[in-house]
Structures are given as structure tokens and as C-alpha cells.
Symmetry: D2
Subunit: 379 residues, 4 copies
């Protein structure tokens, strides 16, 4: 019953942080076996890196095309079933496309692609192939985000009337004020990084979180972006008004020049019967507010949590869970999908979330370039 899923990885070699995160997550619930991949564009370094992981070199490939070709020859019990795509953003599209076309499942880092058009195209192939396709908005994997999502969908806080979301970082501050640095940072180079810096890198996480936990779609947005310096073309700060199809309104604020901030994601959702608040840097607390009762603070692992929240907690209450646990939970959900087990769609963000994210980025850029006007998202 429990043969492990064969996992291949594209990217994530060398000092890659995202590589560590995905490998630990894959191992966390004993559901995957990493069998090979292309960790590095340089084949020699690729092989060296694979050794440090304890992999033999037989399934380490020169490039993703060879991987697809060779793996496709293997019988189904040996073949890689799912590939994690951790490469630079512009490679997500061609890799994911070819993987889907060749019947692999895909776990893809965000942003899904570099354009909405590409995203839609991928989604179409994914549907045809009926492939499992996860987009790793990691933060959605925390047990208390899942609890928040479930409580809202259960109507605990009533109809949503206000949403306040942020993703604030400060890491660009030491770069942005130095002309040389800002002109030589790849994140600020449209050639390398695509049309957006802040929105693409982190705004899209906040947007995904908003739609995930509320269970509602953002109808339209009005964005005010900041490049801070005239010689910088890329957004480094974004203040965005959002509206939902009911009367709810809100904001998404994301920034990479919020000096001193690390990874400060917060989401507050206010409803007619109560409110829920969560923040990523202290992920094991979910705050429930109401008109007339004391503030309640929910924590992971307690029996008052929902099944999907408890599913992501391995130790008794009081043992802090971190970012690895969040990603581990996503991999666990993907494993269920691949194994055709029952799972809740809230267990991992899927390709439609990736598509929405691309639409968000393009519409926010559009709103800003048109002078901060309302732009509707696609239905």
C-alpha cells in the first residue's frame, strides 16, 4: 500500500534555500523518495550535489529534456511520478509544460509563470492530462491557516465585510538606495525577473492567502506601486485596494522596502459575526475576535481544531511548528492526490491558484500604469 512516491527535482542545488525546504518537506511524512533530477545547470556540479544528498548518479540528468526522455522509458513502478520545479521563474513555464505533456505530475514554485497567458495554457494542458499540479504558496500549509480557512467556510465569522492583508519585507532597503546596487540586482532587472519585483515575489502570496482563507474571489483592484527611484523600473512597494463581489472591501499591502521587516505576512478577516487574524512570523496562534466575548487564541494540535488543521500537526500542543511543517503539509496533500486518496482541496494550492496569481500581478501592474484605476480580474 505504501510504496513511496518517486520524486524528481529540477533546480534547488548548491546553496539553494528553496531546495532544502522542498527536500525536508518531501521527507517529512515518509511519502516520497527523491530519486534524481537536475539540481544544477552545470552537469558536474549537478552530480556533485546529488552525491551530497546520497543519491547515485544514474538518474541525475543533463537537463530537463533528458530527464523527461529517460524517465519516460522506465516502467511505471520506477518512473518519477512527480517533479518539483524550483528553477528561476522564467523556466517554470517551459518545464511544466513539457512535464505535463509527458504525463508527469508537477509541484511548481510560484509565480507559476511569467505571464497570465502562459499560466492559462498550462492550466489547459493540466486539465487535459488530469495531472496533479501544486503551486507552492507555502504559507497556506500552516495548521492555523487551514483552521482559519475552515472556520470561515463553516460560517463561524458570518459574512465577510473587510479584509486586511500584508506581506512586508525590508531586504531591498540596503540595495535600493545605492545606484550601483539597484542596477545590478537581478530581482530589479526586468530581463531576468519579469515585469514585477515585489508583486511577483511576495504580493502574489498575500493575494493567494486572501482568496484561500476567505473562499471568495477578488473582483477588482486598484494598485499604487512604488519604484522609489526614477532609474528603477520595478515595483518595490505596493498598496492595493481590493473589492469582492459582496460589499466587502480591503487592502493588500506588500513591500520589500519596509525596512527591518523580515517576512511579515498578516491577514485579518472581519465578518458579521466575528473576526480571525493570523501572522506568519508567529504561525501557531490564530486569533478569534467577537463583539462581546474575550479574545480567543487557538493553537495547533488541540482537539477543538478541524480535521484538516489537525492533519498537519505531528506533535502535541506546545511544540512549535515552523515553515518546514507548512511545506511538509503541502507535500502530504499532493501525495494523497497522486495516490488517488481522498483529500481536501485546501490541502494544497493548485494550478488555478497559480493562474489567479498571474492575473493579479498583471492587473495590478495595469491599474498602476493607467494612473491607479480599478481593473477587474478575470472570472
Amino acid at each position: 500500500m505504501s510504496r513511496k512516491i518517486k520524486l524528481g527535482i529540477l533546480g534547488g542545488g548548491g546553496d539553494s534555500l528553496i531546495g532544502v525546504l522542498h527536500r525536508v518537506a518531501a521527507n517529512m511524512f515518509d511519502k516520497y523518495e527523491i530519486v534524481g533530477g537536475v539540481f544544477n545547470p552545470n552537469f558536474k556540479e549537478n552530480i556533485e550535489f546529488a552525491k551530497t544528498l546520497g543519491l547515485n548518479s544514474s538518474r541525475i540528468y543533463e537537463d530537463y529534456e533528458s530527464l523527461i526522455e529517460e524517465e519516460s522509458k522506465l516502467n511505471s513502478s520506477e518512473k518519477m511520478q512527480v517533479i518539483s520545479v524550483l528553477t528561476p521563474n522564467f523556466l517554470h513555464y517551459p518545464m511544466a509544460k513539457k512535464l505535463l505533456e509527458n504525463n508527469f505530475h508537477v509541484i511548481c514554485e510560484k509565480p507559476l509563470t511569467t505571464t497570465y497567458k502562459e499560466a492559462i495554457e498550462l492550466q489547459q494542458i493540466q486539465k487535459e492530462k488530469n495531472a496533479v499540479f501544486a503551486v507552492t504558496h507555502t504559507y497556506t500549509g500552516y495548521p492555523m491557516v487551514r483552521q482559519m480557512t475552515k472556520m470561515i467556510s463553516d460560517g463561524i465569522i458570518g459574512d465577510i465585510q473587510k479584509v486586511d492583508a500584508q506581506y512586508l519585507q525590508g531586504w531591498l532597503n540596503p540595495i535600493i538606495h545605492d545606484k550601483n546596487k539597484r542596477s545590478s540586482t537581478w530581482r530589479l532587472d526586468p530581463e531576468k525577473s519579469g515585469s514585477s519585483c515585489c508583486l511577483g515575489d511576495i504580493g502574489t502570496h498575500a493575494f493567494n492567502m486572501v482568496e484561500l482563507v476567505t473562499g471568495m474571489k477578488v473582483d477588482k483592484l486598484l494598485a499604487d506601486l512604488n519604484t522609489l527611484y526614477e532609474d528603477n523600473q520595478m515595483d518595490v512597494d505596493a498598496n492595493i485596494l481590493i473589492r469582492f463581489s459582496n460589499n466587502a472591501k480591503g487592502t493588500i499591502r506588500s513591500s520589500q522596502i519596509a525596512t527591518g521587516e523580515e517576512n511579515n505576512i498578516r491577514i485579518n478577516v472581519y465578518g458579521s459575526k466575528g473576526a480571525l487574524k493570523w501572522e506568519q512570523e508567529n504561525p501557531n496562534y490564530l486569533y478569534q475576535l467577537s463583539d462581546d466575548r474575550p479574545l480567543q487564541v487557538l493553537k495547533p494540535g488541540h482537539s477543538y481544531n478541524s480535521k484538516i488543521s489537525l492533519d498537519g500537526t505531528k506533535l502535541p500542543p506546545g511544540h512549535p511548528e515552523g515553515i518546514f511543517d507548512a511545506m511538509g503539509n503541502i507535500y502530504k496533500g499532493v501525495a494523497r492526490a497522486i495516490n488517488n486518496e481522498t483529500y481536501d482541496k485546501a490541502e494544497f494550492p493548485a494550478i488555478e491558484d497559480g493562474v489567479r496569481g498571474m492575473d493579479f500581478i498583471e492587473k495590478a501592474l495595469d491599474s498602476n500604469s493607467k494612473g491607479n484605476v480599478w481593473v477587474e480580474l478575470n472570472k
Copy 2:
């Protein structure tokens, strides 16, 4: 040297909470003697209330006109020098106007008036009379707000590049969803409450805080207001984009339907060299962030604080200060101004802050009604 300042009060009788706040503040530093006033429109209740304060009835008046007339007859050592105006908003203008014209100093609750035009008119008279005129944006009186203001003006965080401010309450939530209640609440009745509910009541506090602590003027704004129900005319929620004359951008978010929130004011200011964050419900902590050093948490009363911050702290560190201390500090500053002692303009918000606040309210309403467009504030 230390004769106490003679203080009269208009409003604040009965169960008025604001009345308690002003009286405690006036007594806090032994600078004022409350000698009389018009606490209540009903003269009998007025007299009764004055007794509970231990005042004899000789200087309790029928109305503010009588107060002005009678007090003006007294010699200067007896006469009320300053009058606190705590009446409903629409009375601020006529009362303050007549008080100024008759050479009284004024301490006025916010919002200063019901229209920008009235505010400008008051300001003109105040200038002619060279009167002391304070507008009680109470929260500015906290020692750590003063410290934040001073640190920013001293350049500690460098050039400001991002401002994120909020004032979130939830008290309207139990009212707004009930058609009867929402049609019978005076705050939601434009006849009684003026053109704005949320902006006028609390948005203006957040706006004042933004301009106070940054030392910068908001250049223009773009506001998205929410009335939640079609049969409600008044704003109960506001998401506002702001821009300053340098490249700094930001938001002011204020709400009275942020379910479960009490008095959640936060202001984060991000600069090129660091950031400062403060929140009203835990007012004795000021958070200083930087690119590469540990977070620092400043608290009142320590010698590392500036003079103007320390001036507002009476006990050693670790003795929590509350809202009464904040208002007490404002009254202390006003006393210095009345006594022609040296004072720092940051010691109390003055009439120009009240004028700015009225402009902010009108421009935000204007932006919203025009479909969420940028509107410039007056210089």
C-alpha cells in the same frame, strides 16, 4: 509663580466619558483649577453634576453665551483663562468662535468643526487673537508617540519611504446589520453627525498621527469608503491610499466594522535607515527596526528617551501609562503655552492640525464620491 490656570468646561456632564478624561488630565500635573462651566444643557442637571465635582454653583452657567458674558466681567486673576469644549461636534464651531472672539484660550475635542470652511475661519480668528488653541488628538500625548516623533525628526530612520497607519474599531458591527438599529444610531445620521461617520470620528485621528510623527504633509489621497448597506449613507469603513511630496507612499485604514477590534491604532513608519512602529493598545512600547541589528524595544521613563518623551512620564520605568497620561500630557503642554513658558509644538496638537483634519475628511469624501480618484490636500 504657580497659580493654577482657571479652567472652564463646556459639555462632559452626566455619564460622559470624555468628561472624565479631561478632568483627570487637567488635575494630573496640578496646573489647572476647574472653576465652572456648562456641563449639561439642562440647567438643573448641570448644577447637580457640578456638585458631584465639588464645585459650588456660582460659576455654573445656563449656556455658553452666559458663561462668556459673565466670565468676561471678572478681573483677570479670577476669570476663566481657557475653556475645554467637549460638546457634540456641530457645537464646536460656534462655541470656539465666540470664545476666541472674547479672548479665551480653547481646548477643543476633535473633529475641530463640521466643515473645512469653518475650521479655516476659526484659525484666522485664533491667529488674530494669538490665542492658545489645542485640538485633543489624545493619542499624540503618549510618551512613546512623542519619542517616535522626535526620533524621526532627528533623522534616526533616515528619509521616510513608506507609512502604514490604521485605526480599527468594531463597535458598529452589532448595529450595522440590523436595519432598525442602523437607522436610529445618531452616528449614522448625517443630520446629527455631519457628512462622515468613520472618517470624522477616527480616521482623522489616524491622519493626524501620520502627519505628526512623520513631520510631513500628506500631498494627496485616494479613498475607498464602505457604507456596507445601501440604505446607509455614512462611511463605516475606509481604505485610503496616501502620497507625500517625496516619493513616500502609504495607507490609512480606518474602520468601525472591524469586528471585535477595540481601539486598534497602529502606525508604522519605514525610512531609509530604519523603521519605527507603535500601537495604541500597548502604548508603552516603541519598536525600532533596522536592516541588520536586533529589534529594539523602547519603553517610557528611561534615560535613553528624549526630553519631550520623559516630560510626560511621572513614575519609574515599568509603571504602565494609559490614556489618562496621554491626555494629561496634552493639558500640561497647553498650560505651558498659556503661561508663556517655553514649549515644543509637539506637546499638543494645535488648530492647524484641526484644519488639516477637516481637509482630510472632505477630500476623502470627495475622492470616494468621484469614483476613487486622487485628490490633493490644501497646502
Copy 3:
């Protein structure tokens, strides 16, 4: 009905911090009128100081004996009814004794006296005279301490099984390591400060808090005191084991060499059905724990609070209350007692609390000097 209570004050002149605290508290609810006293041992400075308070000099006296003599001659509607004793510790006993003997009510700073014997003597006179006698353990006046006390007495947390209390300060740290400083600080001089430094100054607060909130008496204790240096005779740090008559056990830890701590009082009470936790530096939060429900955080002013808690809150939820509010609430309770109105004994610590405090200090010193053995407190 509402004639204000005539209040006299002994001590608290000049730069005295405790003087500010008592005066603001007396004024907070409009229940007292400060009519005079002896603020300062130097009569000239005494008069000067009285002027800064706006008092005329007719009831400013040379010493407390004169005050008692002269005030006793006044008719009952004029005479000071209650005297606040804010002088150095060794003066509490003679002053309070003579005041009681001459039919004044007394509000006395802690510690009540310098010996248990004196305390018992005062208590006897107080009983004979049926005087109101408050001992200002200020921290008991916070609304959430009152709420905690009431919830425990209502059985909300069941039978108490564990108590963990602390009062940690660090102010002696910069003094204790310097031989000259430690030999010249009055707090460390037994001639001036009595037999104890840390226990008398702050340990007694923690002990009082323990007995107040639990509603139980400490049966016996075992104390380990630290003087840190051999040439220092006075306790600067205390770790004390405590036991109650049921099977509950606990600790009281108090220190003045907990480097960097300000006024860190915490009390945690664990019962069979739940637990309650409170800390002085964030006094507006009361934490309620249970086996299987989310943590609840209670805040002042909400209708879920008990009457005695709400009685001490003047503004709506979200307006932070500080140390002045705590003392103000104590003065309010004392006013009720003096005016023969109904009051709850939890509204202010009385002479029996002062007596218990003296017993605690002496028994802790005794336990320590005997080599850390169990010593029973008096019943």
C-alpha cells in the same frame, strides 16, 4: 450628597513620585479634596510645595503632631477625614498610631510598619476606633486583578493546586557591584531601611497579591535570600517556597538584581478547572487557560467582566489603563468605606493585609537565617 472627602497628606512633597500617584488617584473620581498636610519636613519647602499644588498655606503644618492637633479642633464638616501617609517606612507606625488614636481614617503606604509587633498594635487600635485603614498595594487596584480575584472566588478555575508569583526588578544591579555605592544606598542600610530590602520593598507586594487573588492564606514558607556580597547585610533577591492549607504549593520570587527588569510582577494561579495569569507591565490582559479550550484573553470594560472589575474602568475597551487607574480605584473604594457606602472588601487592601505582609517579611528572614527551613505564618 456628594460633598468631597477632606484629605490630608503626610509626605510626598518635592520630587516624590509616590506623591504624584496619590494625588492623581485622589482626584480621579472627584471624591476627594486635598486640603493640606505636611508634604516636607522643612516647613519652608513644605509651604512652597503646597503652593505648586494650588493650596493656600492655612492648613499646611510643621509636623504631623500639629496637623492632628489643629485639624482636631475643626468642626466635622471641615476637618480632614482621612490622611495619606507617604513618609519613609519607619514613620508609618508612629504617624498611623497617633492618627488612629485621634479618629482619623488612614491610607498608608506599604510596608505598614517596620515590625510585625507594631503592625499588630496598629490593627488593635484600628479595630477599637472602627477606622477605615487602607494599605496601598497599588497593583491590586487594576481592573483585571479584580476580575481575576472574582473569577477565582466564583470557582471558575476550581480548587487551586499551584501558585507561581514573582516581582522582579533590576534597579540594584548598577549599585550592588560597586562597594562604595552599595555601602551608601539607604535601601541597603538596615539603620534606615529596616531589616529587609527586597522583601520589604517588593516581596510583600507579591505576597499580598498571592493571598488577595487566591483568597487563601499562605500556611508556611521556606526562603532562600541572597545578599550577593558578604559586606552587604540586606536581602536583594529572594526565592521562596510556599504552601497553603490545602495541597497547593508554589513560589514567590522577588529580586532587585534581576538585571534589566523594570517592574515585572506576574502571578499565575492553576486550579483543577482552569488557570488565570496576569502581569503588571501589561495590566489590561487577563489570560484564562483550560484543559481543552482555546486560551481566552479578557480585557477591561467588557460586559463579561464582573461588577467590581467594571467599577474601575472609566472608558470603553481599548483605552489602556495604567498605574494611576489602579491607585484611583483604591481611593474610590476607600471613599465608599469612609462614606459608609456598600463596598467589596476587595476594593482596597486593609490593615489586615498590612499585618500579613509584616508577618511574611519576618518569617522569610527567619526561615533564611535558620538555614532555609519551613516557618509557619501566624493564623
Copy 4:
């Protein structure tokens, strides 16, 4: 260079939580390959469980004796190098003993043994064999505990003068008050659980933490234990006074009847130049206090941290680390030791820490049974 270390596991099968923790930790840095073990006493379940881990059954054994026998036959490149012992406490000693005698390295759960005598015996064999032997006091693996330890050893807070440590849980509360439950819980059965419940299970963690971070040895202790009910023989709550060889004093408080507490470990260390505070449930914050500067809050991953702290952080600041990271860091250190690489002894608790822990337990029981007297720990 990077061949993975062959790891065997004893225990941790089925629903074991500790099993998950060790497996994830072993995988975290790609240093280990789990090759087999005895997960479960029932061989069939053992095999089943191994399958769920993706292990083939060739190196799944009937019992630890068979494992030792069979593995010893393998050549050195195949043989298990290190065995993790996760079985019930009473099995630690016989298993570890035989493993050491047969030249395996050992990673052992705490408490090391059931008696001090056994611990000493193990230590002797470990020395003879020069084996790597880790005792998994997991909490010591957090980056900020390592940072705290390093800062203290670097003299940042000067000479230590006070230590305040706690480990509070509430899980026994729903059991202890029910006579049937308390007589049928294995933790409260001396036959199954050894001489101590609370001390052995969690007190020893707090004790280890105290000695680790201070770098000092506890000289003597005085313990007051609570069994709460007469028909319960086992300690469920402990208040312990401790003294060090310098003049520092302190407490260790541990409890399993601190109702509602989860895993509330705190350690505060006060020195002549500053203080450091840490708590396990919010493990990514280290608080540095001083006499006259703002509180500083250190977080993982920043360049201001020491090398040994940074070694345990894989992602940029703001990505919360949890309990898995702490155990992962311990396994990483053990891997270095096994591979004869340079490592810092603070990277993992070793057998001498386990020995100290057993001495602590026995001495605390001794102190209590003798009527709460001082008992010296072995040097």
C-alpha cells in the same frame, strides 16, 4: 566525502510522535540514511511499519540483540554506525550498554537511564569505546538557545547572579483528579515509569537547559515536590531552589498540573552586565536586557548571531523554525562527531548531560523525602 551515515532506530514505530521527530531530524540535513531497526516489539507490526517508511525488510530485526548481532557482521561501509534509542525509559540502559559494547554510536532519548548508577556505568563504557553518545534534550538545538549559550560564555551578560527556569505542562490535570484515571496512567505507576514522573519527564529538561546555557554546574538543590493526592506516589509538580558555586541562586519549577499549559519552558539568566530570556513556545526570539539600554530582541538567521546559532538556520530571517529544526540541529552535530569533523560541544547534549540529569532527579527526590533539605549534586 558525503556518504550518508547509516542509521538504525530502536522504537518509534506505530503512532509514536517521537519517532516522527527523530526521522524528520535525521533527514533534515541529508546526513543520514535510515537503513533499518526495530520499530516495534511485535515483529509483524515492525515489518508493516518499516514498509510505510519505504524500507525493505532485510534490516528490520526481531529485537535489538539480533540487530546488534547481524549488523556487526556487515562490513564497515554497510553497517549501521549509529542507533537511535527511542524505547520506553527502562530499556535505554540495557540497549545503550550493549550497543556501546558492540561499537555502535548512540543517540538516546532522555532520561538516559532509570538510575544514576546505570548512567555512570554507561558513561564509563562510552569513554572506553570513545563512542559518540548524544542525549536528545531537543530544546537545546534551537538556534536562539545556542545563541544564548554563546553570548553567556562570551561574557556578554557578565557574572551570573540569578537563574529562573521553568517547564510547565498541564496534561495531567484531567487525569489527576479522577481516582481511576490516576491509578491507571502509566506515567503515575512507579513500576512502569520509575521513581519520578514530573522530574524525570520534564524537570530534567529544565535542569539540562540551566546548566547548558549558564555553562555552570548546579552545586546543590532543595526540592519541594507535590503528589497532590495521598494515593498518588509520584511527583506531578516540583518547586526547586538551586545554588551555584558562585553566589548565584535560582529556581527550577516544573509541573504537569499547571492547568492549560502546553510546553511552557522558560529560562531567564541575570548577570552583572545584562540578562537573557528565552521561551520554548516562541523559540525564535531571544530577549537581551540591560540596565540602561532598550530591550533587544534577537532572531535567527541574522548576521549578528554567532556561528553556532547560524549553523542551525537554513532559511532567511522571518521563516519560523520549530521543534523539528531543533532536533535536526542536534542530529547535524552528531553527524559531525561521527564523521570526525570539528564540532562544538554545544551542538548536542552528550552522555555527561544525561548523567547530570539522573543525579538531578535522584537528589531532588532525596531532598524532598528528607523534608526539603539541601542536597549536593555530585561534582
